[in-house]
């Protein structure tokens, strides 16, 4: 009986050997991916025990970790001017959003890039310290934007502003009104913070502070979308800024109703060069242009600008999807095609066209940068505690949205908006752009836009500003943009 016993013994030991191999596999090579598993909530909780890295912008430290003096959590999180920077920093309370989430492992110190460098610390059980992160945001401009938005937005409504560096795609401003204070939900607030977060999260209705109005919320772009319609029209219908277009009354083909113009004199009086129609924002010419293109070509033409995609800003940090829909699904899941009337209205940024301020800033960036859009990003550098560089942003091209020639003509058209068109009130502010005033139906106030670039000559930045309220874009979004750009251009 000894031989079979020996064989069974070997088999039994092989079973345990199999376990050893499996444990090595799981804890050795799988550990990293298990720690990063989206279902794994430990990745957030563990970082209460060690100081998290700082987040700064333009040399100003905005987010810090301080010991609480208690055991759980050992470290809290403090946000300087929390509501102003919340759209980019996000919040951290175990769970995290925005930059706090994208760079969680680096901020928390658990990232391989830190642990491998500090392997000796890991070996002796010392927790690797979180890395410090520097954002591309211009803090002063961001503050200006927040206050200007607050001032110009109607009580109970929303406003948002984005400024992009057109050569790199770096986000200089991403402001939202109203906002929330990440300090209220930081780890040190305990149960109270959890309650507050649940309350913010459960909000229904217009104001949802956790959804920022710069990157994550879409609005009807109204006439500011005419920049896209013009771009597609000029490239596909062989128009130039001096081509004569019909600015007279347009009867919509399905309902036989008139598409209204804001005024029926001047350039909108019957015939004008495209540049003039653009400057005075004659709806009928762009309605006609959209009809001639058809909704499919208009929608496809908007894709290179970023429409139809949630644009990746940082890892796990994406914008909302802007869209020029060919068809939509109603509440019952039935498909509704965008008809002829809808196509004409889509051409002036109404119907179901929706865009984030980031998207419109990208449209302006394409125009300002000879058609080329750089991928937007917000984190410039990540440095370990010993100041060694762990990450540095490398600007990437998002795509060539339009031809350089088209972009040049559109720049001219945008300059005309300020010099002779709807935004004459912004003369002398060194910015150019397109106004937009979108009706949102019923008693909902207008969404008022100003989308453009600055300086007027040799532009460096593209911007988009939206505020909700009565009146038009030129007087209610234009000055906000002007104030922000004045701050951005100081440098």
């Amino acid at each position: 009986m000894d031989k079979p016993i020996r064989r069974v013994a070997i088999f039994g030991l092989l079973l345990i050997f199999g376990l050893m191999a499996q444990v090595n596999y799981v804890q050795g090579s799988q550990a990293e991916s298990l720690r990063k598993d989206p279902n794994n909530r430990r990745k957030y909780q563990d970082v209460f025990n060690s100081p998290r890295g700082q987040i700064s912008a333009g040399g100003v430290v905005l987010v810090t970790s301080q010991p609480t003096g208690k055991d759980n959590p050992k470290y809290g999180r403090t946000y300087k001017d929390g509501p102003i920077f919340a759209p980019v920093t996000g919040f951290f309370n175990g769970y995290a959003t925005k930059v706090e989430a994208s760079y969680n492992s680096l901020l928390g110190g658990s990232d391989k890039r830190i642990t491998q460098q500090r392997w000796f610390d890991t070996f002796i059980g010392k927790k690797a310290e979180g890395a410090d992160l520097e954002m591309t945001i211009d803090p002063e401009a961001q503050r200006t934007a927040y206050r200007a938005l607050q001032e110009k937005t109607q009580e109970g409504r929303r406003g948002g502003a984005v400024v992009l560096d057109i050569k790199t795609g770096a986000l200089k401003v991403a402001a939202s009104w109203p906002s929330f204070d990440p300090n209220e939900v930081a780890p040190q607030t305990g149960q109270k913070g959890t309650k507050r977060l649940n309350e913010l999260n459960g909000r229904t209705g217009v104001i949802q502070p956790l959804v920022d109005n710069a990157l994550s919320q879409t609005f009807p772009p109204g006439s500011s979308f005419k920049a896209v319609t013009s771009a597609v029209g000029m490239e596909q219908l062989n128009l130039t800024s001096s081509s004569t277009v019909n600015t007279g009354p347009l009867t919509l083909p399905e309902s036989n109703k008139l598409l209204p113009n804001s005024h029926d004199h001047g350039n909108c009086g019957g015939q004008a060069p495209l540049k003039g129609a653009f400057a005075e924002s004659c709806n009928t010419s762009f309605g006609r242009m959209a009809l001639e293109l058809g909704i499919q070509r208009l929608s496809d033409g908007a894709q290179p600008f970023g429409f139809g995609k949630n644009i990746k800003i940082e890892p796990d940090f994406r914008s909302a999807v802007s869209d020029v829909p060919v068809s939509i699904k109603d509440a019952q899941g039935k498909t509704i095609e965008t008809g002829k009337d809808g196509t004409a209205r889509s051409g002036i940024g109404q119907e179901n066209v929706r865009a984030t301020p980031l998207q419109m800033a990208m449209v302006a960036a394409a125009i300002a940068n000879n058609g080329k859009i750089m991928n937007p990003y917000v984190v410039q550098k990540v440095r370990a505690k010993d100041q060694s560089e762990l990450y540095s942003a490398s600007p990437k091209e998002f795509g060539q949205a339009i031809k350089a020639d088209t972009a040049e003509q559109l720049r001219d058209m945008m300059r005309a908006v300020v010099s002779e068109g709807t935004a004459k009130n912004l003369q002398g502010r060194n910015i150019a752009g397109k106004t937009g005033t979108a009706e949102q139906g019923g008693s909902i106030p207008n969404s008022r836009w100003f989308v453009g670039f600055g300086p007027i000559e040799n532009p460096r930045y593209a911007f988009a500003v939206i505020t909700e309220g009565p009146g038009d874009g030129a007087t209610n979004a234009g000055p906000v943009a002007a104030a922000i750009m004045a701050q951005v251009l100081k440098k």
Binding site: M1, D2, K3, P4, I5, R6, R7, V8, A9, F11, G12, L13, L15, I16, F17, G18, L19, M20, Q22, V23, N24, V26, Q27, G28, Q30, A31, E32, S33, L34, R35, D37, N39, N40, R41, R42, Q45, D46, D71, N72, T122, F123, G125
Partner: protein
Amino acid sequence: MSSIGEQIRAHLPYQRRNAAALALLIFAMVLTLSAFAEVGIARDGYLPPGMFIYGGGLVVMAFGAYLVQAKFASYADPLLLPLSVALNGLGLAMIYRLDLDTSDDHKVAAAAGKKLLPDAADATGQLMWTFVGIGLFVAAVLIMRDTDKTDAPLSFTPKTAQRYTYLIGLSAIILLLLPIVPGIGAQINGARVWIHLGPFSVQPGEFAKLLLVVFFAGYLVNKRQAMSLIGKKFGPISLPRARDLGPILVIWFFCLGVLFMQKDLGTALLYFGLFVSMLYIATQRVSWVMIGMGLLAVGVFVATLLPFMGHVNQRIDIWQNPKPYFDGGCLLDSGKVVPVNPDTALYKEQQALHKISPGFSACAKLGGEYSDSAQLMKGLFALGQGGVLGTGLGQGQPWQTPLSFSDFIFDSMGEELGLTGLMVLLLIYALIVQRGMKTAVAARDPFLKLFAGGVSFVLGLQVFVIVGGVTRLIPLTGLTTPFLSQGGSSLMANWILIAILVRMSHDARKPAPQAIQDEGMTQIVSTR
């Protein structure tokens, strides 16, 4: 007897290794006390009082056990007791670490009158069961005297059990059946394997396992010659007569049936492996092992078709692909898995209707089978958190894993002790299995050989089934992790098992009785 056993026996030292046992035992005690100290310092900031109560208590008990072993089983294998004490001590430290009633923060909060969530980890209970377990070890070593003194009053040796083969088989079945008896049976965590005895819950299956090994050994020793020699040939395979294989098959199938009724798949797998391995040891027929494996395959196939089986096919699906099942998944007939976790619309819809378990209701509405892989996944997350070196005892978050103190204690260990610690634990198990197998080879009596081989293999297999389950090597089925899991029945049964091995190793390693030569010199009478 074959030559291997003869060779091993020829080289046995026939010497007492008590000093080695003591040295190893002291090492195991230091290990245990350090573990308690580390828990206290990391969790509460000072050496915990538990170190003296719990760690100290275990040390005293273990030392008592050593004295008994040194006196009454002095030739015993020196490794078995220290290895068991080390496992038991580390398990106790982990349970102490998980039992928040012992933590400083918890006491302060309780004193402040705060309402606290109860946790199921119970260090005091586990310490008590450790006492009982080691007490049983001592009692078993004392009662089971040397094999050659069977005539002594009140003597019961492992060999004596051979006389009551069928009685023991019957007791195993009765023990297995007890949890189904209304009134004393209880269902905990989905498996009906418990009985209530006064204030205690006992898992009779743990003891039935030992009895079943005795029964198989006793039966197979008597019939093995008949089974391997007489039978019908089917090509290369020869099958034994029905009258030889029949009784054992009946009892075995009966046990498996009972276990399937109780949805205790882990134990069923264990009994299956036990039966096949002991049959092989007794008869040396590899072809029968193959037949056994074939039967297992058929069994699993049948089980996937039976609805009351806890949905075996779903368990296998979860094992292969646990992610969609996290916090609730629904397996449709088409083989597609639809998540019904609390973030899904399906779940919220049912929640709005105030269903008690919305995920389950949502799945019922889709017509699929509901299951949840959160336990398994959270266990794996714990292992991932531990990495190579672990977070250190008292510094991880093992409580995030469900059943972190029982079924998933191995994952909790992996989190705080890391890969390094788990390799140590697995090596300890491997050593216990190896020492048990060596005892089997060294034993002189065929019954004892089978018995020792059977219990050692079943211990190894049990470790494989539960540890393999929680590390996703094989589909997860519930079993206790020997000596580590919280639970009295398991501890008691395992300490008895170690006592039997200690006693048998003593018998095998002690010098064979020498023939009495003391008859003096033959007188030679001078004839002169």
